[in-house]
């Protein structure tokens, strides 16, 4: 465009010049006399070139100037990308697009100061075709689960940025894991008249009774990702029915049936084992007609256990009558519906021994770990020469460590062996074997026979595994339930529950709780680890009661008569006055704390 001059005459009166734009043409009229020259100011969407030079701000023009107006047209922009999810189960089309624009210079009527603009004449969107998208998907290996409808919808959208799911894979169908239904649980089916042991027997089954049914595992179905790769399902988890004595598996292990008549028992915390413990019924009393009773399973005595006789059960004992001057020993619970007088009662079998062994082995396991760690550190020391260990075995190093820093290790092994020696027939043979291994390798000259560290590591693992077994054995607690106790000794690895009048001059020792909620304790000694709850403690006639609180055990007694002695470790307190609502507990600092009420007052010691 060239400015077209209209002329300037000096003799005419002053008149400002002007400029006009029409159809993209710039027409300039010079001023007359001392009039002002017209100006051009470039605005948006175009560039102005004056005599070949781009101007960015206001410039004056006159006739004969070369003025070029150039609209800033833009081209359409399109960027396509395919993104896959990390599991390749989804493909997304990411579109970034921008329309192109065509501009025309706006007309301006004659003026002294013209601001030149260009306005949009045409918007041109980039072309996106279905084929383009499909090809791009194929380039990115997306071949499965393409959603053509979603792509077509995406083509129609005019959004500048968008992300659309254009393909979806297929997740594998999960398998069905095996499951076990124990049919004797949650059902009254095996109680009462249906089964042979009749009235009052809590739970029993006859030979051939189905005890457990396993639902078989079912395989899942493979899926496919968007690239066409097969996704296999995880294998189904199989859970076998684990059995011990008295149970047989049929139908490839899918059904468990009772092989003997007796009481079905499901034991174990993580791995559950099913067994049927046979029940031996004594109809009537245990007396000179029956003699002493010893049975591996459960024993039910429908009468009483009389003077001088003993009942020993591998399972539980239930006595419907009394226990008079007699003894009961059971690995599981003991229930005496009436009273026990001058009796010795122990439930939980070897539980107390297991606890002692656990304590020793726990300490030993820690020390062995430290010893192994010391070996590692020593062998890494640059100044420590290990050539002799390679020649004569690493046992020399073990011996050296046990001579100095780990002197206590052989003593711990001996402590373990001492507890083992107290009982002749351990049901857990692995305990005996562990004792033998530990003695061979860690006592006397045993360490020198160790060839390498791995041997010691194996021993350490063996101790650790035994600890896990012991943990389970200890947690398998057994309660004693009795109506009334007098002049008796009662020990339980679980709780002792006296349901009737209470305990008179007896020694009760529970690893769990002692609950005599409605009864009295007159004389004797009560020891527990968790809780002791008594309605009335002590005697107006001065029968002394000793309460021993182990660990964090607490005592609650509603009425207390002197003299009651409460012990915790080396600490002891004497209650020499009548009081009510006595609570004895162990504080955070390990000290005994007492709360009690006197008539009309409340006092804390």
């Amino acid at each position: 465009m060239v400015g077209i001059g209209v002329g300037q005459q000096a003799d005419l009166p002053d008149q400002d010049g002007w400029v006009t734009i029409k159809n993209g043409q710039v027409i300039v009229c010079n001023p007359r006399g001392c009039g002002k020259f017209p100006t051009l100011t470039p605005d948006k969407n175009l560039q102005v070139f004056l005599n070949g030079e781009k101007i960015v701000r206001t410039a004056f023009v006159h006739e004969g100037d070369s003025i070029k107006l150039q609209p800033l047209n833009t081209e359409p922009f399109l960027n396509l990308e395919v993104k896959l999810s990390s599991d390749k189960l989804k493909a997304f089309l990411q579109v970034r697009k921008k329309p192109g624009k065509r501009y025309v210079v706006e007309d301006i009527p004659p003026t002294g100061e013209a601001t030149v603009k260009a306005s949009i004449a045409q918007v041109i969107w980039p072309q996106l075709t279905f084929e383009q998208v499909r090809d791009l998907l194929h380039q990115n290996q997306v071949v499965y689960g393409i959603n053509e409808e979603a792509i077509r919808q995406a083509l129609e959208l005019e959004d500048e940025n968008m992300s659309i799911e254009v393909a979806a894979g297929q997740l594998p169908l999960p398998p069905q894991d095996a499951g076990i239904v124990y049919t004797f649980q949650n059902s009254g089916r095996f109680q009462g008249t249906v089964e042979p042991y009749g009235q009052g027997n809590p739970l029993s089954v006859a030979v051939g009774t189905v005890l457990a049914v396993k639902s078989l595992p079912v395989d899942g179905k493979a899926g496919m990702d968007v690239t066409g790769k097969i996704i296999p399902p995880r294998p189904p988890r199989d859970e076998p029915i684990l059995i011990k004595s008295g149970v047989s598996l049929i139908q490839d292990g899918a059904v468990a049936v009772a092989a003997v008549s007796g009481k079905p028992v499901l034991e174990g915390s993580i791995r559950k084992y099913l067994s049927v413990q046979p029940v031996h019924i004594i109809n009537g009393d245990v007396d000179r007609k029956t003699g002493n009773i010893k049975f591996k399973g459960n024993i039910v005595v429908t009468g009483s256990v009389l003077d001088g006789f003993g009942v020993e059960a591998g399972g539980s004992i239930e006595v419907w009558g009394d226990v008079l001057h007699a003894s009961l020993y059971a690995n599981n619970e003991i229930i005496i519906h009436n009273k026990a007088i001058t009796a010795r009662i122990q439930a939980g079998g070897l539980s107390s021994q297991y606890r002692r062994i656990y304590g020793v082995l726990k300490h030993l396991a820690d020390r062995l770990k430290q010893l192994l760690s010391s070996m590692e550190v020593l062998k890494r020391q640059p100044s420590f020469n290990t050539a002799d260990l390679k020649l004569n075995g690493e046992g020399r190093l073990v011996q050296l460590l046990m001579d100095f820093k780990y002197k206590d290790v052989p003593k711990l092994v001996n402590d373990f062996l001492s507890v083992l020696a107290e009982t002749e027939n351990w049901p857990q043979q692995e305990l005996v074997e562990l004792g033998r291994d530990l003695n061979e390798k860690l006592c006397n000259l045993g360490p020198l026979r160790i060839k390498n560290q791995a041997e010691l590591e194996l021993l350490s693992q063996e101790v650790q595994q035994t600890l896990e077994t012991l943990m389970w054995l200890i947690s398998n607690t057994a309660d004693v339930q009795v109506g009334y106790v007098q002049n008796s000794v009662v020990r339980a690895s679980g709780n002792i529950i006296v349901k009737g009048q209470g305990s008179i001059v007896s020694e009760l020792d529970a690893a769990g709780q002692i609950l005599i909620s409605g009864g009295k304790v007159r004389g004797g000694r009560l020891t527990a680890r968790e809780k002791i709850q008594v309605q009335e403690l002590g005697s107006p006639n001065d029968a002394q009661v000793i309460i021993r609180l182990l660990d964090n055990c607490c005592l609650d007694a509603n009425i207390v008569h002197p003299v009651v002695i409460i012990e915790h470790g080396a600490d002891h307190l004497v209650i020499a006055e009548n009081c009510r609502r006595l609570r004895a507990s162990v504080g955070k600092d390990g000290d005994l704390r007492l709360e009690r009420e006197y008539p009309g007052t409340r006092k804390e010691l």
């Binding site: 020391q381 640059p382 100044s383």
Partner: protein, 110 residues
């Protein structure tokens, strides 16, 4: 490298300067050197020159200290490198013999 032991005795005090490797092949030199000491009430085992030790060597040191103490001789281990002392420490020797037995522990490798 074998173990060399140089002994200096003055006024009932002996210093045994050990230099080299104290291991299964050389430990007897140390025990012989210690048992040969007579008329002294104090012995310093200078381990500044000990570059390596093995389990037998450690056992030898322990045996030497025990034997000297049985003879009512006051023993000290001096100029031991930090690396070597760490080995003794892991084994619990300072706990058994007393930390005061170790003097002048040197930093860095021996």
């Amino acid at each position: 490298m074998l173990l060399q032991i140089r002994t200096e005795i003055s006024e009932q005090r002996a210093v045994l300067f050990l230099e080299g490797v104290l291991d299964i092949s050389t430990v007897d030199f140390l025990l012989t050197g210690v048992s040969g000491l007579a008329g002294v009430k104090e012995v310093d085992l200078d381990l500044a020159g000990v570059t390596f030790i093995d389990s037998t060597g450690i056992g030898g040191i322990s045996k030497a200290v025990t034997k000297l103490r049985e003879r009512q001789i006051y023993v000290k281990i001096i100029n031991i490198s930090a690396d070597l002392f760490e080995i003794f420490d892991i084994l619990g020797l300072p706990e058994i013999f007393g930390t005061e037995m170790f003097e002048k522990i040197r930093a860095g490798n021996s």
